[in-house]
Symmetry: C3
Subunit: 344 residues, 3 copies
């Protein structure tokens, strides 16, 4: 399928500048675009790319003023990135049509009702008492344990595992290999040095609009629930311990680890490989830099980094100071020598 | 099912204080408990919660002396946490009855004998020559490669993978997505800069009473074995490299990485995201704080943290010193100025 | 099977010293070897082990001169480690014969052709339009999404998942639980604080001779591709973000994280748990120590470590300085006291 600049402008409420009949069939980054591609310019850092780009069409801000001639056709919009995202969603909806129906062989326990629009892929397992909303898509080889509930329009990708009793909201996406509801890591030490397993009888409760990355693990609670709030997005290979609770619209990059019983607020942003100790509380709107270690409570609005984490500014200053430590020792020695000389 | 305070006290050897007929049907944390819930008070830090709790019954120490009136019925026991764990185990045994029998379709290679009490879930794969002990539970979509042996009462959760030839002890729990026996990471550099794969012909040997977390990976040895000792517990997303050996009753929190050929002793405790270099030796009873990096050997009994790790006390002191580094530079400058002034 | 020292020497072009009729049936490390085992001595650090080893045969350098009597039969070769690797490959080829044919039940979409020598394990899923080269081995419970292409002789281990449209080269090995082509982590913030998903319409392209470790995740690109170059080896539990590109013959140890749009060059070596920020560029022949954090671009040939990373030498010096910080404060105080005394 090809779309012309005028068709695209009409679809997104933009205005065309240049050849309105130029047609594109794909998307690309501005520095890799071919004449068949649409691209976008949002970050002024990349402004220079627009003069060399091979792209057929570039989405730009309405107030963008080129400093040199631009060969590509421009489509002016309010927010090029949001418009691109919107176009990608339109293409995605057209191209990636979700399957429907039941592939065989699959395992659906007796009494489970398959809702309207559902997909059950081959080799997927739907345990006893599972309840699914409309248009739920269970891809091949996924596991949905006994008594699990899944809201409307949720997608469970191949090989994701949801242990018994967990609750998944509507419009969630659970990627391949994610494990929801495995036992929390709880053991009581015994007198002989061995450990006695503490049964994990709680569940995991995932609210609506949550995305869980590939091979991420969210453990079930000892008692009660481990909870992920609405709109929260977890990247790949993240660990969420038992009885942890995460608020709404919080995003965590890959390989973060949230230890058990820790509470994280809403609208937080964590870089990759961040670790949070157990039984602590992190407020709302907290930003944590990559690889940080968080040993204790964090107030709302904090912006911290490091292990143990400190405010961003302090971290940068500390790094500079540490680099100059050699200097400290030589200055100290010089002073000591000088003092000695002066001492009668 | 409901149980009264007097029934519970009888089951655990406790004494009732308050209404012996109060009945509960669930467990909860003390701050979240409802009147239908039993809870416990073990950590004195939470003593204040007992005066407000809505719980029907609270397990407390025999010597606990309330400072204010308590509405809940108390059941006094020697060790409230151990008693809770015991009660949870009783409920778990009653509620989570393990399945038995063979679900179809599943794949069991010719000649494999299914022992008494075994469960083979749908879409699980049991390769040629596999030997399983009594009551082994293979959940759906698990993979047990050729020649694997599994001891009595071991549970393999959905989608866990055990490569050919590995040995799993009795009473082990292998969680979903864990991979036991994938190739160790071994390559020999060649003259042209590419790498030649070194075949990994060894196995993984897991002793009795081991728990392996979700999506944890334990690589097979190049030659010989990668070994996990009896009673050791590994949390989720941990990496154990080829030919590593871990002793007995050692516990590691999520996302730790143990590089190849490293030996870890018994009764160790590692926080999350700890990394150990390859070919090193860590003694017994070693405690390592979260996110630590261990570049070399560690003596038995050490308590270390940091990257590279130092004793706990040194780490705390270093953190304080680093925070005060700005001070060092200003004091140095002041001294230099003063000296200069004094120098004739 | 047993082989004598003279048979082995003939196979690898070595010369025998000692009993040429000694026969071995297995491999072992020098300190663990039994009389039935062949071992090797490559690293002079382990020279002392040769006088005590129980091994039947030891591969040694042609110029090795024992300082004490050696009981084992020696086979002298140019490069003992490379020779061992070669012997392991010969045994591997003899012992681990790859299966061929289609196990049932498996799912192969209509129209997909199974090439010569292919293996399709039970419960594996081959989507519509998949194209596979000769001798491709798809182990049980693996998922190959619609439109995926796989080159000759590639092995996909149990439960690996390759999302639709991705391209895998020839002679690759994808280990159990690896996820290739899950959605990149891309969301656009909206006015109400929630996030709008940016569809990920690109693919993952893996060149020839690549090995991907167990439970490693490589995300599909937003637009275009996430690329792994020829001969590159990724260990277990690694995260590669969307639109990242990795060059040829680069090796990364377990649990590394490469954020989105970052480029890594060729012939690099990364230790475990290294994290790279997004949108940065790392040159060729770069060596990065374990647990390092890389916030910005890195020049070719750099050897760095730490978080944030600095050259290896600086890191060692900084560690020493930080250990001596207590000293700094006491010397400063002494100087201040002395100065005060001197000040009239």
């Amino acid at each position: 399928m090809k779309f012309t600049a005028s068709q695209i402008a009409a679809a997104v409420g933009g205005t065309v500048e240049g050849d309105a009949d130029v047609a594109v069939s794909t998307f690309a980054k501005i520095e890799e675009a071919t004449p068949e591609a649409l691209t976008f310019l949002a970050n002024p850092k990349y402004n220079h790319c627009i003069y060399d780009t091979q792209a057929g069409i570039v989405l730009v801000r309405r107030d963008f003023v080129p400093e040199h001639p631009v060969r590509a056709t421009l489509v002016r919009v309010d927010d090029p990135y949001a418009t691109l995202s919107h176009l990608l969603q339109m293409v995605d909806a057209a191209v990636n049509v979700r399957p429907t129906g039941v592939e065989q062989p699959s395992f659906v326990a007796d009494g489970v009702e398959l809702p309207e629009g559902a997909y059950v892929g081959a080799f997927s397992y739907i345990g006893a008492g599972v309840r699914m909303g409309r248009n739920v898509k269970i891809y091949p080889q996924a596991y949905v344990g006994a008594g699990v509930t899944i809201g409307d329009d949720t997608v469970i990708y191949p090989g994701a595992r949801i242990y018994h009793g967990c609750r998944i909201g509507a419009r969630c996406i659970i990627h391949a290999g994610a494990v929801i509801g495995a036992d929390g890591f709880g053991f009581a030490p015994t007198a002989d040095g061995s450990y006695s397993k503490i049964p994990q009888l709680g569940i995991v409760e995932i609210a609506d609009d949550v995305e869980i990355g590939a091979n991420t693990t969210v453990d079930r609670a000892t008692m009660g629930r481990t909870a992920i709030g609405q709109g929260t997005k977890l990247d790949n290979l993240i660990q969420v311990g038992h009885n942890a609770e995460i608020g709404t619209n919080t995003v965590m990059a890959a390989q973060c680890g949230i230890a058990g019983s820790t509470h994280v607020g809403s609208n937080c942003m964590f870089g990759g490989q961040v670790g949070l100790a157990g039984h602590i509380s992190v407020g709302d709107n907290v930003q944590i830099g990559a690889q940080s270690g968080i040993p204790g409570n964090v107030e709302s609005g904090a912006r911290i980094i490091g292990s143990p984490a400190v405010p961003f500014g302090d971290f940068a200053r500390q790094a500079v100071y540490v680099k100059r430590l050699g200097d400290v020792f030589s200055r100290l020695s010089a002073l000591e020598k000088e003092i000695k000389k002066q001492t009668p």
